[in-house]
């Protein structure tokens, strides 16, 4: 079986080769033909050629390199110095062109950054988060340890601003409590938080009353006249004098 198969393959290959020979033999030979057409020589107008030669496009001397300016020489010198510095630092050759691009890129980046900073743009584009914006909120930066309560209170009472006077009384009491380590003053703490820090039950109860009165006047904006202010002030004085 194998012999028959091998014979068939051999026969097919032989026929393929022979057919190639037959086809190649039947291709006709190419004959080269000479061009026998009449050649007519065209003559150019000498005057026109002269005119052309005076045109700017044909004056090739213009394209000659000009002598280097002071800026170019300085720039080339800088790059040479920069490359040599790097080579001496790292003991190997660097491609001047790549370095040039890196430095130019850095320089452009710094310029863009400086422009953004100067005009006050935030960097949302890069970080996906906008820069924090200050909201109008005037409570910040008031430290009870820096307020001159006596002066401020006298001014408020003289001006008839009893609401502000009660606020100052309350802040002054918080300061006293803080000075005596009965509370730990932090602007972010609520009045209730301070109340819970007072361990003495009696003092806490008294301070609770003061807190309630302060809240009614300050947050509730209850109208307070001199008569009522005197009552509130008396409560604060009693607490600050007797309790503290």
């Amino acid at each position: 079986m194998n012999r028959i198969f091998a014979f068939i393959i051999f026969a097919m290959l032989t026929m393929t080769c022979m057919s190639g020979t037959v086809f190649s033999a039947s291709v006709p030979e190419k004959v080269l033909k000479y061009d026998t057409g009449k050649v007519s020589v065209r003559k150019f107008d000498a005057e026109q050629l002269k005119n052309y030669s005076t045109e700017r496009a044909f004056i090739y001397q213009d394209n000659l390199p000009e002598s280097e300016s002071w800026w170019s020489r300085s720039w080339s010198r800088f790059w040479r110095w920069f490359r040599e510095g790097l080579q001496s630092a790292f003991k190997q050759k660097y491609s001047g062109t790549i370095l040039q691009y890196i430095v130019i890129g850095l320089f452009v980046g710094i310029v863009i950054f400086a422009i953004f900073k100067i005009i006050g743009l935030d960097f949302k584009l890069f970080s996906g988060k906008s820069a924090p914006v200050a909201v109008p909120y005037s409570e910040a930066a008031e430290n009870i340890h820096e307020i001159n309560f006596n002066d401020e209170l006298s001014t408020a009472i003289l001006a008839g601003n009893y609401r502000l006077a009660v606020r100052l009384c309350y802040l002054s009491t918080l300061k006293r409590l803080s000075d005596k380590n009965m509370i730990s003053w932090q602007p972010e703490k609520t009045n209730q938080a301070y109340l819970m820090e007072i361990t003495d039950v009696e003092k806490r109860k008294s301070f609770q009353t003061l807190t309630q009165q302060f809240e009614y006047i300050w947050y509730g904006e209850f109208i307070i006249d001199q008569e009522r202010f005197n009552l509130v002030k008396k409560n604060f004085d009693v607490f600050n004098g007797r309790e503290l």
């Binding site: 909201v135 409570e139 703490k189 609520t190 009522r228 009552l231 509130v232």
Partner: protein
């Protein structure tokens, strides 16, 4: 020391009596969960929708049902399932052969108190059906708008999103809930009391005996009073500052909307009224800040991976902001 110098400007007696009655009705059956009950009442008074989240079996549905039962108003319940369609919620137009016209059949969303149980088991398509009705208190079908009757309140319950078969609610819908109230496991003592009550069959009897303690008119009156309560301008700025901070915090991917600021002010007024005051204090704002904001903000993925929760984030933000004093 003289404590009472100021007389109340607003009469809150009726409101406080109503609050006490609801509190007692709910407190008789729900063991512990005082904070949850307070927020449920505050939400009702502030005219907001509420989302109750907790693991299965912590009385979410029971709390919602009890609140609904304590009000003399129509109540309907929708069990959200994965195959629920918007028309199953809003209603649909049906062809009437006698009149040869389409007639609109109202869905279960038409009512005063709507309990949506397991809200996060339905896909976003069904959730979006609630957008209009929750915010605008109206349903538009086939070009016709149907207004909801007042009071209209959606009480929804959901399992935490990590649970099997639940979807995260769309942000637009979460923003429409005034509060997300997280219901935690009871303490050991509370659990013993739950078991004792169940053993003595107290719960079944008390559930049957629950009666409405608040009429629709009373609710409307309470809401009108609450809307008129006083908020000092610096406290408005304080609430705005808290919400603003959620938008500028590096750990927060999605900050809270202005609707959240409004929700803080409205709900803090309700809390103030419940405590017998006709003005808001910083404590009221702080109390409501977490249930109002926690479901409205999204943390950055890295912070979520660290295990930080939105509630923790809100607390951190509050601790950074000075109390107006």
């Amino acid at each position: 020391m003289e404590a009472e110098i100021f007389n109340q400007r607003t009469d809150l007696t009726a409101l406080n009596a109503a609050v006490a009655e609801i509190r007692q009705t709910l407190g008789n059956i729900i063991v512990g969960q005082q904070e949850t009950i307070n927020f449920l009442i505050a939400g009702l008074l502030a005219d907001g929708h509420m989302l109750l989240e907790g693991v299965p079996g912590v009385a979410k549905t029971l709390s919602a049902k009890l609140l609904a039962k304590s009000i003399a108003a129509s109540f309907s319940r929708i069990q959200f399932t994965p195959d629920l369609m918007p028309s199953d919620v809003l209603g649909t137009s049906v062809f009437d052969p006698r009149t040869a016209a389409f007639e609109y059949r109202k869905g279960p969303v038409f009512g005063h108190i709507i309990l949506i149980d397991e809200i996060n088991r339905a896909p976003a398509k069904t959730q979006s059906a609630l957008f209009e009705v929750m915010e605008e208190r109206q349903v538009t079908v086939d070009g016709h708008t149907y207004l909801m009757e007042e009071p209209f309140m959606v009480l929804a319950t959901q399992n935490p999103i990590e649970h099997e078969g639940t979807y995260r609610l769309p942000e637009a819908q979460l923003d429409r809930f005034l509060f997300k109230i997280e219901i935690k496991y009871p303490s050991l003592e509370e659990e013993i009391m739950i078991l004792t009550n169940q053993h003595q069959q107290k719960l079944d009897n008390e559930l049957k005996e629950v009666k409405a303690v608040l009429s629709i008119e009373q609710i409307k009156t309470c809401r009108t009073i609450i809307k008129a309560l006083h908020v000092e301008p610096k406290l408005i700025a304080y609430a705005a500052k808290i919400v603003h901070e959620t938008r500028n915090n590096k750990s927060v991917y999605l900050g809270a909307s202005p609707r959240a600021s409004l929700a803080i002010i409205n709900s803090s007024k309700a809390i103030a009224a419940m405590e017998g005051r006709d003005f808001v204090t910083p404590e009221d704002i702080i109390k409501v800040a977490t249930p109002v904001l926690a479901h409205r903000i999204m943390l950055t993925p890295d912070k979520e991976m660290e295990g930080l929760t939105t509630s923790d984030m809100i607390k951190q933000i509050i601790q950074k902001i000075e109390i107006p004093r």
